[in-house]
Symmetry: C2
Subunit: 767 residues, 2 copies
C-alpha cells in the first residue's frame, strides 16, 4: 500500500508534467505561426485572419515581444472573463451547458470536501485500530474509515454524513436541472428563427402504388394538418454521391501536394505508384495521374447526381415536413399520425447540420433487430473484450514465434527487439483497443440507426460510461477481468457482491488518487497543448497549403467530443461520491481536476473547438441520470462496507437512502425531463404571435425551402456551383409536382420566383 511519501512523489511528477504542458502551451500560443492551431474558432467565425504584422520576417513566425511572455498565464483570466450569455452566443448552448458539468462538480464537492475534512477526518484520525493491529498500513489509511474499530459507535458519523452528502447533492442537482431546463427553453424561445423550429422529420412513409413518395407526403399532411402544413423536402439516398465527392477531394489534396513539390523543385516531375497506399504498382507521373483521376471522378459525380435526382428509387420514404407555425410543428412532432404506430413516425427535426443522413431510411422492424444485435454485441464487448486482446498478447510469446516462423529467429534474438516484443507489445494491444474504443462505440451507434449526430454521441457516451464503470471502476477495485467478475457476481448473492466491493474500496484509494493525477491533471494539461493538431497543421501547412483557403482547411479545430468527454467527467463524479464518506483524502484531488478542467475547457471552447451541432443541451437528462446512478452505487457500496464492520445498529438506516435518491430521480424526471423531449405549445404560440406581429410579410416557405438539402448538394466544391442552381430547381420540381387531388387547391402554391425575403441558398446563388 502506498504511503504518503509515494503519493507525494507521484503528485510532484504529475504536477511537474502538467506545468511543463502549460508552459509549453503558454509559449507556443504566442507564436504567430501557431495562431491557427490555438485560435481556430476565431478564424472560423471570421473574426481573425492570418497574422499580417508588418515588421521583420521573423516576427511573422516568432513572437519577439518579451512582455507577452511575462504575462504567459493570462489565458486563464481571459478564459474565465467571457460571461455565460456571450459564451452561448459565441459557442452555442451545448458548450456552455457542458462547462456547467464541471461547475456542478465544484458545487457538489467543495462543500462536501469541507464537511468531510472538518468532521470525518478527525473522527477517523483519532482512532488507533491500525496502530494496534499487525497489518501494514500507511498514514493515508489513518484518515480513512479503515481506522475505525469494528462495531464502533463512530459509524453513526459516517451514516449522518452519507445522508448530508446525499441531500446536498440532490439539492444541487435539482437546482442545476431547473437552471438548465430554463436555459434550454429560453434558448429555444430566443429571438433567432431556425428552420428546425418549423420542421418535423417524418419517417416510414408507406409506399403508395399510385403516387410518388413526395405526393403521398403532401397529400397526407394536407389532409391531416390542413391549417398548418407548409412544405416538405424529400430525402435522397446520396450516400454513394457523398463517397465520390469525398474521394475527389482526397485526390485534389494529392494533386496540390505534387504540384507544390514540383513548383519547389522543377528539375524532376514527381512520380507515384498506383497500387495499394502508393507502395506498389506501376510508377506514373503523379500530376498527370491525379488530374486524370479527378476528371474521371467529376464525370462520375455528375452522372450520379443526375441519377439521384431523376431516379425515384433514390428517394427514401422519409421527409422533412415544414409547417406554417411553430405551433403546427410542435403538434405534429408530439402526436401520433397514423393508426399503425410504426408508419408516419414524426419527431422533431434535428438542426440541418446535426442530421445524420445515412440513417434516415431504416424501416421500423430493422431498427428493433439492429437494437437487439447491438445490445448483445455491447454486452460481449464489455465483458469479453479481454479475450481477443489476450489472444494478441499470446502471439507476442517469443518461443511461439520462433517455433512457427524459424526464419525470423535471427531478428527476434536481437535483445532490443526481444524486449520490445515481450515488454511493450502486449501493453500496446490493450492501449490501441482503448484508443479505438470510442470509434467502435460510435460505429455501433451508427449501425443502431440514430438520426442525428448529437443522438449518436449521446448513445456512445452512455455506452462508454458503462464500459468505464465495469472495466475501469469495478475492474480496478476487484482485480480480474470483467468476465471473471460477471461469473463471480452470478454465483454470489446480492448482499455478498456489495460486501466484496465495499470492503475493497478503502484499499484502492491510493490507486485512484494516482489515476486522478495522471488522467485528470497531466491529461487535462496535455489537452490544452494540442500536440497532435499542432504537428498535423504544420505538416499540412508545409506540404499542401497554397492559398488562404487551403490553410483554412488545414486547421483542425476538433469539437467538444461529448462521447468521450462526458463519461470521463462522470468517472470523477462516481469516484468522489464513493470515496466522500470512505476516504475523504481523495476529495481535494478531485476538486483540482474539476477546477483545472473547467478553466482548460472554457479556454478551448472559446478559442479552439468548432461547434458541430446545436442540440440545445439535450444531453442533460443523461448527465443527471448518471450522477444519480453514481449516488446509488456509492450508497449500496457504503452499506456493503459498513455491514462488514459489525455496525449492525447503523447500517439498516442506510436502506432509505437509495430509495429516497431514486424517488428524487423520478420526481426530477417528471418535473424537468419533458423540457428536453417536448416543446410546450404555449411557448410555440407565444413565439408565433410575436413573429407575426413583427414580420407580417415574412415568406417562410422560401426560408424553409432548401434548409434541409443533403450537404452534398449544398456545400459542393467551387467548380460544381454552376450545377447547383439547376439541381436545386430540379429537386424543387420534384417537390412541387402538380397532383391530382382536390385538397391541393386549399393551400396556396407559392410562385417560384417571388419574394425570397429571407437569406436562403437560392438567394446566395442568384447573386
Amino acid at each position: 500500500m502506498a504511503t504518503l511519501g509515494d503519493i507525494g512523489l507521484s503528485a510532484a511528477v504529475n504536477i511537474l508534467s502538467a506545468l511543463v504542458f502549460l508552459i509549453a502551451f503558454a509559449v507556443l500560443r504566442l507564436q504567430p505561426f501557431n495562431d491557427r492551431v490555438y485560435f481556430p474558432k476565431w478564424y472560423l467565425k471570421g473574426l481573425r485572419s492570418s497574422p499580417t504584422r508588418s515588421g521583420a520576417f521573423v516576427a511573422r513566425f516568432v513572437n519577439l515581444d518579451w512582455r507577452e511572455y511575462i504575462r504567459f498565464l493570462n489565458w486563464i483570466p481571459d478564459a474565465l472573463r467571457m460571461p455565460e450569455p456571450e459564451l452561448i452566443e459565441h459557442a452555442g448552448l451545448d458548450s456552455a451547458v457542458y462547462l456547467r458539468i464541471y461547475l456542478l462538480g465544484l458545487k457538489i464537492f467543495v462543500p462536501v470536501t469541507l464537511l468531510a475534512w472538518t468532521i470525518l477526518v478527525p473522527v477517523n484520525w483519532t482512532n488507533h485500530t491500525l496502530v494496534k493491529s499487525d497489518v501494514n498500513y500507511s498514514e493515508i489509511d489513518k484518515l480513512s474509515i479503515a481506522n475505525i474499530p469494528l462495531a464502533s459507535h463512530r459509524f453513526w458519523t459516517h451514516l449522518v454524513m452519507a445522508y448530508a452528502f446525499t441531500f446536498w447533492t440532490c439539492y444541487i442537482l435539482r437546482q442545476e436541472y431547473e437552471k438548465v431546463a430554463y436555459m434550454r427553453l429560453h434558448f429555444i424561445a430566443s429571438e433567432k428563427r431556425r428552420p428546425d423550429q418549423f420542421t418535423v422529420l417524418v419517417k416510414n412513409v408507406p409506399p403508395d402504388p399510385d403516387e410518388s413518395i413526395s405526393e403521398t407526403i403532401e397529400h397526407f399532411f394536407l389532409v391531416n394538418h390542413p391549417d398548418h402544413y407548409l412544405t416538405h423536402q424529400v430525402i435522397c439516398d446520396a450516400n454513394k454521391l457523398a463517397k465520390l465527392v469525398k474521394e475527389k477531394k482526397s485526390n485534389q489534396n494529392w494533386l496540390d501536394y505534387y504540384q507544390l513539390k514540383y513548383a519547389r523543385n522543377q528539375s524532376q516531375r514527381p512520380m507515384m505508384k498506383t497500387g495499394f497506399l502508393g507502395l506498389c504498382g506501376e510508377k506514373v507521373d503523379a500530376i498527370d495521374h491525379q488530374t486524370a483521376e479527378i476528371e474521371r471522378l467529376s464525370k462520375e459525380i455528375a452522372k450520379e447526381r443526375e441519377r439521384v435526382i431523376s431516379d425515384p428509387k433514390s428517394i427514401m420514404p422519409a421527409a422533412f415536413v415544414s409547417f406554417k407555425t411553430r405551433w403546427g410543428a410542435a403538434v405534429c412532432a408530439q402526436t401520433q399520425q397514423s393508426r399503425n404506430p410504426t408508419l408516419w413516425l414524426t419527431e422533431w427535426a434535428a438542426e440541418p447540420r446535426d442530421v445524420y443522413w445515412q440513417n434516415l431510411a431504416i424501416p421500423y422492424v430493422s431498427l428493433s433487430i439492429r437494437r437487439l444485435i447491438i445490445g448483445v454485441a455491447f454486452f460481449f464487448l464489455t465483458f469479453f473484450f479481454m479475450i481477443p486482446i489476450a489472444f494478441v498478447q499470446s502471439l507476442a510469446n517469443i518461443e511461439d514465434i520462433e517455433k512457427k516462423a524459424p526464419f525470423l529467429k535471427p531478428i527476434i534474438e536481437i535483445s532490443f527487439i526481444k524486449s520490445f516484443i515481450q515488454g511493450v507489445l502486449p501493453g500496446i494491444a490493450l492501449k490501441i483497443f482503448l484508443i479505438v474504443l470510442p470509434t467502435i462505440l460510435m460505429i455501433m451507434s451508427k449501425f443502431e440507426g440514430f438520426l442525428s449526430i448529437s443522438g449518436l454521441e449521446r448513445r456512445s457516451a452512455s455506452r462508454y460510461y458503462i464500459f468505464n464503470f465495469v472495466n475501469v471502476f469495478l475492474g480496478s477495485i476487484i482485480a480480474g477481468t470483467a468476465f471473471q467478475q460477471l461469473s463471480k457476481f452470478l454465483h454470489q448473492s446480492a448482499n455478498e457482491i456489495f460486501k466484496t466491493i465495499g470492503v475493497a474500496i478503502p484499499m484502492k484509494a491510493t490507486f485512484f488518487i494516482t489515476y486522478i493525477m495522471v488522467d485528470g491533471w497531466a491529461g487535462i494539461a496535455a489537452e490544452i497543448l494540442r500536440l497532435q493538431p499542432l504537428i498535423i497543421f504544420h505538416l499540412k501547412n508545409f506540404f499542401l497549403v497554397k492559398t488562404e483557403k487551403d490553410r483554412e482547411e488545414a486547421m483542425d479545430p476538433g469539437s467538444l467530443g461529448f462521447n468521450t468527454g462526458e463519461p470521463q467527467i462522470q468517472f470523477y463524479f462516481i469516484l468522489g461520491l464513493v470515496y466522500a464518506v470512505v476516504t475523504p483524502l481523495l476529495l481535494p484531488f478531485i476538486l483540482v481536476f474539476f477546477g483545472l478542467a473547467y478553466v482548460v475547457f472554457r479556454h478551448q471552447i472559446i478559442n479552439v473547438y468548432n461547434q458541430e451541432y446545436e442540440s440545445a443541451a439535450a444531453f442533460w437528462p443523461d448527465v443527471h441520470g448518471r450522477i444519480i446512478f453514481a449516488m446509488v452505487i456509492s450508497q449500496l457500496l457504503l452499506m456493503g462496507l459498513l455491514s462488514t464492520k459489525n455496525a449492525a445498529s447503523s447500517t439498516p438506516f442506510l436502506i432509505a437512502l437509495p430509495i429516497l435518491t431514486l424517488s428524487f430521480h423520478l420526481y426530477c424526471k417528471g418535473r424537468y425531463e419533458p423540457a428536453f423531449i417536448r416543446y410546450p405549445l404555449q411557448e410555440a404560440m407565444r413565439k408565433d404571435t410575436l413573429e407575426r406581429a413583427r414580420e407580417p410579410n415574412l415568406n417562410l416557405k422560401a426560408y424553409l425551402q432548401n434548409a434541409y438539402i443533403h450537404p452534398v448538394f449544398k456545400g459542393g466544391d467551387d467548380d460544381d456551383d454552376d450545377n447547383e442552381d439547376e439541381i436545386i430547381s430540379k429537386l424543387e420540381e420534384t417537390v412541387l409536382v402538380p397532383t391530382k387531388r382536390q385538397s391541393r387547391r386549399n393551400t396556396p402554391v407559392p410562385s417560384k420566383v417571388s419574394g425570397n425575403s429571407s437569406p436562403s441558398l437560392l438567394d446566395v446563388q442568384e447573386k
Copy 2:
C-alpha cells in the same frame, strides 16, 4: 407425494362439487322468482321486466314446465351463440376483450398440450431412472422431467420444446395484440359519438390572483388552441355532498324497511335504538326517527349544494376541456401545454362514468410522495403481511388467553370452543386477510391518485398479480413466508435462486393440480351460481322492496372485477408456461379451466354483469406484459432446473430464450402499445370529416355542456329534480361569465337556448 389415485380422488370430489353447482344453477335460474338474480343485465338494459305470466300463483315463483328442466344445460350453447360484434354492442368492448384472455389461454395451450403429450410424455415415460432409484415416486413423476437420468441427451428434446412453446406463444400473443389493437381503434372510431372523444382532462391549473379558475382555463385555451377550443367544465369538490347524499339514501332504505314492517304488522309501531349499529342508545319510534333524519339531511344537502356552487374555494384547479373537433382534443391530450411540465397537465378524459371524482385535485408533488409511500407500503404488504397475521394467530393461543383473562377460563375450557379457537381461528385470520386484500389494494390505488376507475382497477390488478406471484406461486414452491424467501434471495446468488426454485418445481406439480381443480373448476362453477347475490336479493326483496323501482335497486348484478379476475387468469398462464416443459400432465387441467371459465364468464357477461365503465380494452398491454413476464420466469426456472441435471451441453442454449422474448416484448410495445395510449390524428380527422358531412348543423356545445357534471348533481333523487335545472344553469353561468380579454371575441358564444339537437341532460329535464 401424491399418487395418481390421490389426484383421481381429488378430481372426483371437485368435479362432483362443480357439477352440483352447475345443476343447482340450472335449476335455480329457471325459477321466475330468481330471474333478477340470474338475468339482471337484461333488466338494466330494459329488455326484460318482472315475470308476469298469467296462470297459477305458484307459477310466478316456481317453474313448472318440465321440458325446460330437461334442457337444463342449454345455457351453454346460449352463452356461446352471441357473436362478438353483438357482444361488444351488448356489454362493451372491455368485456369482449376480457373474454378473449380465456380464449388466448386456449389458443396457446391447446397446441402446447398436444405437442407436449405427443413428444414430451413419451420421452419422459420411456426412462427408468425413478424405478431404479430408491426414492419414493408416483406414476405422475414418471411422466415428468424427473424421470430423465442425469446428463441424458434427451434433455435436448425439452430444450427444443421450450423454443417451440416460446415461439408459438409469441406468435399467438402478437396476433392477439394486433387484433385487440385493431378492435380498440375500430371501437373508438365507431359511429357512436361520445363526450370523451372531444374532451381532455386538464389538471394542475395554476392559480391566478386576478381571475377565477374558470376564467384562467378559458383564457389559456383561447390563446393556445384558438381554432379548436369549445367549452369547459370546472370540477367542484363535492365529496362532502356525495357523502351526505349517500347517508340520506341509507336512511331512506331503513325508513322503507320499517314502513313495510309496520304495514305487515299494524299492531305495533317498529322501534329502534339510535346508538352504534342500532345496538345501544335510546329507543325511539323508528319511522318518526328516520323521517326526521331524512328531513335534516335534505336540508343539509341543499345547504351544501349551495355552498359548493357559490364558494370559489370548492372549485378545484382542474377541468374537463372540450374541443370543437376530435382532432383538437387529440392534439391537446398528446402535447405539453406549458413551459412548466407540472402545470396544465392534459390527458384524455375518461368516460364520464369512469371518472374517479375524489382524486381530481391532487397536486403534482403530492402525487410523487403518494406514489413513494404506496410503493413502500406495498413492499411491506407483500413481504411482511404474515407478521400481523402471525400476531393474531398467536393471540389464539389458549394458554395465553387464560393467563391474561382468567375470567374467560370457564368459557374457553368448553372443548368445542377450545378446538374452534385453536383449530379454526388462525386459519380464519389468514382467510379474512386474503378476502379483504383486493379491497386493501384498491384503497392503496385510490390513495395513489388515479383518476379513473379503470385506472384504479388496472393498478390494483398489477399489485394483486405481484402479491400472488410472490406469496402463492413462489410461496408454494419454496415453503416459507415471503419474508424468509426475501432474506434467502438476498443471501443467494442469482444462479442459486433459479436452481433452488427450478429443482422444487416438478415436486410441486401435484399440489398445483389440486389447486387448479379447487380454484379453477369448483370455484368457477360456484361463480355462476351467485349464491351471495341470490341470498341478499331475496332478503332485500322480502324486507325492503315496495315498488318496481326498489326491486330494480335490490338487484346486485356486480361487474367483471378486473382487479381480481385478471390476476387469477394470469396465475394459470404462469402455471401452464412453467409446467409445459417440466410436467405436461398439468396442462389438461389448465385447459379445462380456460374452457369452463370462458363459457361461464361469457354467460355472466351476457346475462348478469353490469358494465361500470368502458375503457376500450385499455388493459391489454398489462395482460400482454404479464404473459411475457410468465414466459421469462418459466425460461429462467427451466435453466435453473436443467443446470442441476448435468445437462451442461444443452443448458447454455436456453440463454437466448429470455433475450429473444424480451426483445419480442419491446417490439410489440413499440408496434402496438401506442394504440392504447395515444389517439392517431388521422383517425380523428377522418371521423371529424365524416361527422361534418353528415351532421353539418350539430350543436356540439350543447351536447358536451353537461357531460362531465359531478354525479351528485346529475343522478339525484326524484325530489331534487326541481333544483337541478337551477343548479346546472348556475354552473353554466360560472362557466360563461363574461371576461375582459380581447381574445374571447374570436370564439362565438353560443346562445344558451338554441338548438339542443343532441340528447343531453338539459333536454331530458326540459321535457
